[in-house]
């Protein structure tokens, strides 16, 4: 058997075992919309943790983080910082979002906006923006899967074919399983990912350099600027770091799927504890950074930094263990891709299509439409991944710049009774216009600051000033009433 065949077989085995557990967990449950999308609001701390770690630690963390450590250097550290601070912010938001979700039967981010602001138009803008900006996130996962299969097969399977197989598997998985199945696969995914991260991040420095310190001493000697900011870039200095961390931390739970995950919890306290415990998992990212830095010395000159981690694994381990690492990587792409597909398609069917075209559509048909949308979105993501050469981190930053524009509407909606619908709508549209203009004209970063951050600041200012310039408006949500 060639090394490529061995590695690919191990990857297939891991993916099949994962899917099998997922399907088994979801058998025999009534498949209403509430079970399919929010698992009947039944998740305790363990499942919540699995689901949230499942959707946060994606191919982006696996391949993108090591890729940036390899190609950009110091600026990659922003990832550790924003994830931790994103959890800090979640402590103050998600439990309240959950409480309102339970009281008013909310299932999606758009439901929240509609209930709080009583505006169908605003809810519609939120849904459409959410679905649009989550597509780059989906694209990340599919691109990652393509890279994994390509490297693990020793370039025998072309990336396009690999992505096609991957997208079909993910779509089937979502259609047959639902949210509960996804959370179950996360168990396998997270154990394997920690195993992969720790084994590469510890074995590689020990084997080739004799420890962490000799590795970093050598990088400091050969590439003196690489380990600090702005690394190999010209624009990603400390101002960029601060603005990007703030933007991403605010946007962390503003994705339709991360926001929606709050509704699967059994209680608000579960979400608070999640915010305390889950950041610790971010420490495993350090090993992934170390692998990226080691790859800089061991396999210099890769045209695509996102391949660094797997090329390093291919160089250092026997094919079967490359397969284990590839399998871990494949699951870290499939689980988030599945969650994104599930959420975005529910959002489209329930909050875009139904209110516009068929207001009296029964729930059974919404499920049917959502499942059709899964296929459409999956292949849209596939098409984009096939025809784009953007790095994984750059894709994620585009998505964050968009979804973080929901932040003012959520925070002020929860805690500032004076905020008005027109204020939020004006801020949101202003923020989205700013960010699109800056990014499409390739002016990100602007004056050393993250473009999305500038848009978010503007968004806040517009929301607050428009709200203050209007008659107060009655809030349709209250945190206090029982």
């Amino acid at each position: 058997m060639t090394p490529g065949t061995t590695a690919i077989l191990v990857i297939c085995l891991i993916v099949s075992v994962g899917s099998f557990f997922g399907f088994r967990a979801s058998l025999g449950r009534r498949k209403g919309l509430e079970e399919w999308t929010v698992a009947g609001r039944s998740f305790g701390l363990l499942f919540m943790w699995l689901l949230m770690a499942g959707e946060i630690y994606t191919t982006f963390a696996f391949l993108g983080a090591s890729g940036w450590a390899y190609s950009r250097g110091g600026p990659a550290l922003y990832i550790m910082s924003y994830i931790t601070l994103g959890y800090v912010i979640s402590f103050y938001l998600l439990p309240y979002v959950w409480q309102l979700g339970r009281r008013y039967g909310l299932q999606t981010q758009s439901d929240f906006f509609e209930q709080r602001y009583g505006s169908k138009a605003l809810a519609l803008v939120v849904s459409i923006t959410g679905v649009l900006f989550v597509i780059p996130y989906l694209q990340i996962q599919l691109t990652g899967l393509g890279i994994i299969v390509q490297v693990a097969s020793f370039d025998q399977i072309p990336r396009g074919t690999a992505m096609f197989i991957a997208v079909t598997t993910v779509a089937l998985f979502v259609l047959m399983g639902g949210m509960r199945a996804v959370a179950w696969v996360s168990v396998l995914k997270d154990s394997l990912m920690i195993l992969a991260a720790v084994s590469i991040g510890i074995y590689v420095p020990l084997h080739y350099f004799g420890g962490f310190e000799p590795l970093f001493q050598q990088i400091a000697r050969n590439h003196p600027a690489h380990l600090t900011m702005p690394g190999t870039t010209k624009t990603m200095g400390h101002a960029w770091f601060i603005s990007t961390v703030l933007l991403s931390a605010c946007g962390f739970y503003m994705w339709p799927h991360t926001f929606g995950a709050a509704f699967t919890a059994k209680s608000g306290h579960v979400l608070r504890r999640n915010a305390i415990v889950t950041p610790l998992y971010t420490i495993s990212l350090a090993f992934i950074f170390i692998a990226g830095f080691a790859a800089l010395l061991l396999i210099p000159g890769l045209s695509n930094g996102d391949m660094a981690l797997l090329m390093l694994a291919r160089k250092s381990f026997s094919p079967w263990f490359l397969g284990v690492i590839g399998g871990a990587g494949a699951l870290t792409a499939m689980v988030p891709a599945a969650i994104i597909l599930l959420t975005a398609s529910t959002l489209f069917a329930k909050n875009v299509f139904r209110p516009i075209f068929r207001p009296r559509m029964p729930e059974s048909q919404v499920v049917y439409l959502a499942k059709t949308t899964v296929l459409i979105l999956a292949f849209a993501g596939f098409y984009l991944a096939l025809h784009s050469s953007t790095t994984l981190v750059a894709l994620l930053l585009i998505g964050y710049s968009g979804v973080s524009q929901f932040f003012p509407g959520v925070v002020l909606g929860l805690f500032w009774p004076r905020v008005t619908t027109a204020g939020v709508l004006a801020g949101l549209i202003g923020g989205l216009t700013t960010v699109s203009t800056l990014m499409l004209s390739h002016r990100d970063p602007v004056y050393g600051l993250n473009a999305g951050f500038i848009a978010l600041t503007l968004n806040f200012a517009v929301t607050v000033s428009v709200s203050l310039g209007m008659e107060p408006q009655e809030s349709r949500l209250s945190l206090d009433e029982p």
């Binding site: 110091g74 550790m80 103050y92 439990p95 309240y96 400091a220 306290h269 608070r272 950041p279 029982p482």
Partner: protein
């Protein structure tokens, strides 16, 4: 998870709770010019990487503290 915990309503965060939550932002974000260095290497890691790992643990501790503060308030004065 006790049933008492499930039933008590969450109250809006207190000022003290929010202030403790700001500590990680100073440690991991605003203070970046102070710690973005390679030396001294600690546990074989560049100083900035070590700093961030340490602050992940400290942040988790901060949030555990905020949780105690908020739980204390909610138990003492449920409702309101």
């Amino acid at each position: 998870m006790t049933s008492e915990e499930t039933n008590t309503a969450l109250r809006k965060p207190s000022l003290r709770g929010v202030v403790i939550g700001l500590v990680p932002f100073f440690g991991m974000c605003f203070s970046v010019p102070l710690w973005d260095r390679t030396t001294p290497m600690i546990l074989g890691l560049p100083f900035n990487l070590f700093w961030l790992i340490a602050w992940i643990v400290i942040s988790s501790g901060c949030m555990a503290l905020v949780n105690r503060v908020e739980r204390g308030r909610e138990r003492k004065d449920p409702g309101a």
